[in-house]
């Protein structure tokens, strides 16, 4: 087992890792930027080491200083959390070169899955469904029409150089497809200087459903159910839940097995998340794999009882999985609300500042992951996530009513937050009926 883990992150996830390590009896070193000197993770860790100035590029992304901190403190492993260096294959390699265990998958697996196209090829080869598309750029409209005949409408025309919705057009029949291709071509030429297009099957009102996989370094891999992260604002997850309210146990098993097959095909180890789009007919398509612990991991922990961060550490230390697939048993339902230092009434502007008053909810079924304390100054330099409020219930209704009452108890003063927005989401009819989709913007709905 590790003697000492360096935590290369900040905020709630740094504290989360310190807690897991402490429960395993492993010492921790938390690195911090000079503005995070008073953070709760720094205060609760066994040791702390300042690795640079407040700009993330000078501190939390400063690989030489972080590696030096590990070397001088004698840390034998580094946990990268999420964000920052968590999905840097290069950082994982540097760790290895210095004899420090990177708590995550191998650099090769990170590279393979970090490249979207290669990840898709790997998963196709492993037999996972991916969204059907033309094999690269189409040469003429006939090819597009032929493809659409094969997979069925609707389809979406996309610019090869594209992004941000530019040069994208949905078509529901032949006439629309011809028109869409013309429009998209013109738009793409204007925006990206090339008329190259490809066509994909269009998934209407998809749900974002992701499967949690856990793989040890001995060849064992299991799945821990799924999370539904369809609730998004501008493609940012905001409220997550597990299990998905639209996934049956049959579908769960099917998706879980696919995820395990894909992870094993990619040579994946440690915890990871296979993201799928799920259509209304119950078809699911591989999107990408996240090679790290995720922000929303607590909802999976609440229904499975498995501590995913401890599992990460144990796997990295060479331990076999702490449970088998047949031991996985989902109990109840969990919802997570991300509490952010941002002002929903002023265009979600970040609202850094000093926490003047804080009341955290408690009681049955409530978990809160936060590094806030009264008097802490939330700096403007980093992500606006300041707390994760998680509610568990025997069923989805109980989880929702718990979340409502916990949101009513939560008080954060001194900065603007999205607590009211979360209240509105949780009590909205659309959330209760689980009819918010990944292509909706939740703010426009509630």
């Amino acid at each position: 087992m590790f003697r000492k883990i360096l935590v290369a992150n900040r905020g709630e996830i740094a504290l989360r890792i310190v807690r897991a390590a402490r429960e395993l009896g492993i010492a921790t070193v938390v690195v911090y930027s000079d503005i995070d000197r008073d953070s709760l993770a720094v205060q609760l860790a066994d040791e702390a080491c300042c690795v640079g100035a407040r700009a993330a590029s000078k501190s939390y992304l400063n690989i030489p200083n972080i590696i030096s901190a590990a070397l001088i403190t004698g840390a034998d492993a580094i946990h990268p959390g999420y964000g920052f260096l968590a999905e840097s294959a290069f950082f994982a390699e540097v760790c290895a070169a210095h004899g420090i265990k990177f708590i995550g998958p191998s650099p090769e697996a990170i590279s393979r899955l970090g490249d979207k196209a290669e990840a898709k090829r790997t998963m196709m080869k492993a037999g996972l469904p991916v969204i059907p598309g033309t094999d690269g750029v189409i040469s003429d409209i006939e090819e597009a029409l032929g493809f659409a005949r094969d997979v069925g409408y609707p389809v979406i025309v996309k610019a090869a150089g594209g992004g941000g919705g530019k040069g994208m057009r949905v078509a529901r029949n032949e006439t629309e497809l011809k028109k869409a291709a013309k429009f998209a071509e013109a738009e793409a030429r204007a925006a990206f200087g090339t008329a190259a297009l490809y066509v994909e099957k269009f998934i209407e009102h998809p749900r974002h459903v992701e499967v949690q996989v856990v793989a040890d370094e001995k060849g064992n891999c299991i799945y821990l159910g799924e999370r539904d992260c369809s609730l998004q604002r501008k493609h940012q997850k905001i409220t997550e839940e597990a299990p998905s309210p639209v996934v049956s146990s049959q579908l769960r098993e099917k998706m879980g097995r696919a995820a395990v097959k894909g992870a094993m095909a990619a040579g994946y180890t440690n915890v990871g998340t296979m993201e799928f789009l799920l259509d209304r007919a119950g078809n699911f398509y591989f999107m990408e794999m996240n090679t790290r612990i995720q922000v929303e991991h607590p909802v999976t922990e609440m229904i499975t009882g498995v501590d995913l961060v401890k599992e990460q550490i144990l796997i990295a230390a060479g331990e076999p999985l702490s449970l088998k697939q047949e031991d996985v048993y989902l109990r109840g339902h969990a919802i997570e609300c991300r509490i952010c230092a941002e002002d929903p009434y002023r265009g979600f502007m970040p609202s850094p500042g000093t926490i003047r008053e804080l009341n955290l909810p408690g009681g049955p079924g409530i978990r809160i992951d936060t590094a806030l304390y009264r008097g802490l100054t939330v700096p403007p330099d980093y992500d606006s996530l300041i707390a994760k409020l998680i509610a568990w219930g025997r069923d989805r209704n109980e989880a929702i009513s718990r979340m409502q009452r916990a949101l009513d108890e939560l008080i954060i003063e001194g900065i603007a937050t999205n607590i009211d927005l979360q209240r509105e989401i949780v009590r909205s009819e659309k959330f209760r009926s689980a009819t918010i989709y990944a292509d909706d913007d939740v703010v426009e709905l509630v």
Binding site: Q43, L44, C49, G52, N65, I72, G375
Partner: protein
């Protein structure tokens, strides 16, 4: 009661006075005399001190083993702070660690230290080495002056921003 033990009580008393109209408090007790005088309104208006900045931390430092590693106090989060206070004197500037690593006073084990207390340093002159990831980085002074304090022992680890030298400008 020593000053150390009294600090908390004094802090409490000061807090207690805020919002009242008490202008002066004078206590003599058990071998201790304490007098607190508060600014009057006019004085306060004229005062340039930062506007009544709120008390810094709601949280005291964690209990537990923080900084308990023997011989390792220098890389505690307080190192910077403590040192920061020390240089409050005018004319004194600091040279801080620009990176994390191990501090060496000399270019090699046999060589004499770059600087001693009393040495005069010039901008651009090497003052120490910080070894990071097996690379020896020469740290250059950015100031001119006389070294009055060396805060880190040879071969000790240093964190980013940690004060290494106090230099008196000359």
């Amino acid at each position: 009661m020593g000053l150390k033990e009294a600090k908390k009580d004094i802090k409490d008393l000061i807090r207690m006075l805020q919002g009242t109209d008490v202008s002066e408090l004078d206590i003599e007790t058990e071998g201790m005399r304490l007098r607190i005088r508060r600014l009057s309104g006019q004085e306060r208006a004229a005062n340039v001190v930062a506007p009544d900045r709120p008390v810094q931390y709601g949280m005291p430092p964690a209990t537990g083993e923080a900084g308990a590693e023997p011989g390792y106090e220098s890389v505690s989060p307080d190192a910077g702070r403590g040192a920061g206070k020390r240089i409050a004197r005018e004319n004194h500037v600091t040279i801080t660690a620009p990176m994390v690593g191990t501090f060496y006073r000399a270019p090699s084990p046999d060589a004499p230290p770059y600087v001693e207390i009393g040495s005069i340093v010039e901008p651009g002159q090497p003052v120490c080495i910080i070894e990071a990831m097996k690379i020896m980085n020469e740290i250059l002074s950015e100031v001119r002056g006389r070294v009055v304090e060396i805060l880190v022992e040879n071969a000790q680890p240093v964190e980013y921003g940690q004060v290494l030298f106090v230099v008196e400008k000359v």
